[in-house]
Symmetry: C2
Subunit: 523 residues, 2 copies
């Protein structure tokens, strides 16, 4: 079943040859919509196949399929509107020194995109997922490297995408599928592959990133590798909503048996009675959670070993011990540790700052804001960072607009600024403690939430699913309307006769595209 | 004079510490404008220093300074308008399944940017150049690695930038300057450096790119490495304008003693009498060109050796032999070769497809369009590609809208498609031969010109100065309004209380920023 080098080459060449057929935006939108319809139509079969391979359950998989087809249709809308072409037109200006020529810029597809499917989303981040949908939307043919945990689901999805291509008059080569570890490496090294998208582990993703960078002609590699997704609970929030936060956290960290890339993996909660209430509530809710099945036995082993190793660290306790459940299952749980243990430079507890895939989180109890800042300063990049605030903190009611406010609060100028890496943001607006904490979290992640939970990544135009390394290997997003930007490059035409210009750049704008003319948005 | 590791570290830390002060867009615009004023005010001293170090001449350097200060002011305008923040707002929609949260996205600065200065532009692509200007515009502090060919000009420019910073109330650490080869490597490897910009050679740029990719936390590396800048002259163009094209080409390839990154280095011209006229005109114009001084003796040696090696290849002739002039100068010249020699897979003449820095170009004479397509298929990526067309070809007057037209013309489906890598573009519009040639050039470069010459890169909102590798190591531009995008990353705020939002994302849009709301541009 693993693809040989010759088979990878054939898939890439077929995709490359089919690329020109994707030049028409109308046919791309039709392909995406037809694919969504066919996937919906085969929903029962797909969910059955995916459940057999992943044990994620029909409920979760039915939701994932709906997300996947919604996403395909959303990218069809993006293609049709055309704002992603980023049309810029500067008219010639002979009065300038030197005289300015006529310049017309838009974005064109990069070429064949390699997509590396994820284990934990057999649909939404696999063959018919966001990387594929956004690449096709951009006009790029795709070759997917299937995840070994769900080969049959991958084949079924690919067959439906190829049928959709055929039905809208496209060569089926616009979608290729290969299996196997070596095939994945062959793919990223293939001279005709122009870019890659990846969702998976730090180890696998970094190996492919390195291979992409080491090519004679390097290519963009957009990888989502790993994320701890820190949560900061203020004293006020715990005072007001300890039980709600404990229950919400338990729900988010055990959702899908803790196998989401945005699972909250580190929670900074206050010492003292309010924090204790939160911990008790978390204990109850997690204890009530049913054991679940992980995606495969390697992940189960890694989870059990990872938890054991973390629990053995000094001062780490396990109010609810996560680990092996009956049969093939694992049970959810959480660990606690004094935040001071994570704050120092000794690195004795750095393992707790690494993602542990599965239903476990770490509750780090802090004594003051300085400890929060010190822990945040030691975190790697994340997809999300979450703040649980009290009601007054949300109103900016305790605002201290004097210049020393940051230093007083302990997050900000001292420790916070160390992680603030030049970012603008909420702190710049002189708000209160809530705003300062938000500013301290901003450098750490691509999505910042207040009083919510990070699981459930909305498919929406303004979504950003990405973040500082290792969350992603680039500054791009893999979810949301702007995911299409990853597969494009700009080209500018200078003093080109009107009759030769692509329609997208013609003066009379026959395609009614949004554009900026002479440096301003056209109205 | 070379910076030690400790000095590099100090410069980066000073820049990092100064980053927060750049959060305010108003102060960034003020810094850029004040820097432009100070540079203009010290113009005489700067031009003198730069001429002493580069021998580029006061005329050229006065123009370069004007370009540099225009560019600084243009980025001030970009900062103030704020479209680059790319504000996206999606309102919550509880009616959707699953319900959509409120999402508000904009772009924030990445952090400290390392800038590697170029030899051939001691101002516009060095300390006060486009990389520095766009990084400061984005809100990122900068540490420049000076080019060894013009250290005094670099120090003078940096002092003026730092004075501008102080005058607008910013820490002078927002601009750092280091010298030395090892310092350059230390810089790209520094943990607090968040991105890099580079203009220079393939060898130097690739080494730094590799170092950036090999970091524990890889960073974006936007490098401009090298470009051949091919030109295609059609039979009709040569028929109509042989003398004009020959003279224009001579002017472009010898401008600045051939030391521009967009120098036309390969010209495909027809066999036969029209092409002969072009060659004669080029011969006359190049013979009339005065010998010039190259930037340093290493470049002079490389030029002389490079020309000698190329001229020694079979079937290569030198109607005007380029090479060593008197004293420290070199004389301009050009080589000719049958295009068929470049078209095959043997690779015997591949050296002619590599950039040769200095006043030389290669005139490749083709017998038919198939040879054009075959040569184009073998070219690496370029900053520019130029088409010289006849009047009728510009009107699309010979359009053949039948599906086989591409194959008939020999560029397009057969050879052209091989280089067309899935691009949309002019050919998609069913135009004539001119449009098909334009479509064949589009995959090769970031800027496409018709009936012009690539030297003279306009500083304009729609400019794109970049292209497929090795022209650049990313899909970004280093000139023009969108150069600022290289130093930003998006962040999305989910369900964040209005009082805590950064001003840029508030519902009432107090900063009057252009934005997209619920997937559409706001009017």
């Amino acid at each position: 079943m693993e693809a040989t080098a010759a088979e990878v080459d054939a898939a890439v060449r077929a995709a490359h040859d089919a690329g020109g057929a994707l030049a028409d935006r109308g046919v791309r939108a039709a392909l995406l919509r037809r694919a969504a319809d066919l996937l919906d139509g085969a929903g029962e079969r797909i969910v059955e196949a995916a459940d057999a391979e992943t044990a994620l359950g029909p409920g979760r998989l039915t939701g994932e399929l709906a997300r996947t087809t919604y996403q395909l249709r959303a990218f069809a809308d993006v293609v049709e509107e055309g704002a992603f072409l980023d049309v810029l037109i500067d008219h010639a200006d002979p009065a300038l020194t030197p005289p300015r020529p006529d310049l017309r810029r838009y974005k064109i597809p990069l070429g064949v995109v390699a997509v590396y499917a994820a284990s934990n989303f057999p649909l939404a981040f696999s063959v018919p997922g966001g990387d594929t949908a956004s690449a096709l939307a951009a006009g790029c043919p795709v070759v997917v490297k299937a995840h070994p945990d769900h080969p049959a689901t991958s084949e079924l999805s690919a067959a439906l995408l190829r049928r959709a291509a055929a039905e809208v008059g496209l060569p089926v080569g616009v979608i290729g599928l290969v299996h196997g570890f070596d095939a994945g490496l062959d793919l990223v090294r293939h001279p005709l592959v122009a870019a890659a998208g990846f969702t998976g582990s730090v180890r696998g993703g970094r190996a492919l990133y390195d291979a992409a960078a080491a090519r004679p002609r390097p290519i963009p590699f957009h990888g989502e590798l790993g994320s701890l997704n820190p949560v900061v609970v203020t004293e006020a929030a715990a005072d007001e909503r300890a039980e709600q936060i404990g229950t919400g956290l338990a729900g988010s960290m055990t959702l899908g048996t803790g196998q989401f890339c945005v699972k909250p993996g580190l929670v900074l909660a206050p010492h003292g009675p309010a924090g204790d209430r939160l911990a008790r509530s978390l204990t109850e809710a997690v204890s009530d959670t049913e054991a679940g099945v992980l995606l495969d036995h390697r992940m189960r082993d890694a989870f059990i070993d990872g938890v054991r190793e973390r629990a053995a660290l000094p001062d780490v306790q396990a109010p609810v011990t996560p680990g092996a459940g009956g049969a093939h299952t694992v049970s959810a749980g959480f660990l606690t540790v004094p935040a001071a243990r994570l704050a120092g430079d000794e690195g004795t507890h750095d393992l707790l700052l690494e993602e542990c895939f599965g239903p476990v989180t770490v509750l780090a109890r802090y004594t003051d804001d300085a400890e929060i800042g010190a822990v945040l300063a030691r975190l790697p990049g994340n997809l999300t960072a979450t703040l649980q605030l009290g009601a007054a903190e949300c109103e900016g009611g305790d605002a201290r607009p004097d210049a020393d406010a940051d230093a007083d609060a302990g997050v900000g100028t001292d420790a916070g600024a160390d992680v603030a890496e030049g970012g603008t943001g909420p702190a710049g607006d002189g708000g209160g403690r809530g705003a300062r904490l938000l500013a301290a979290l901003t450098p750490l992640a691509g999505r910042i939430l207040v009083n919510g939970w990070p699981t459930g990544v909305a498919v929406a135009p303004a979504q950003h699913h990405g973040g500082p390394y290792p969350a992603t290997t680039s500054t791009a997003t893999s979810v949301g309307g702007t995911a299409v930007e990853r597969w494009l490059r700009p080209v500018a035409y200078q003093d080109t006769p009107p009759a030769l210009l692509p329609q997208e750049l013609r003066e009379d704008n026959p395609l009614k595209l949004p554009r900026r003319v002479d440096g301003r948005a056209e109205r």
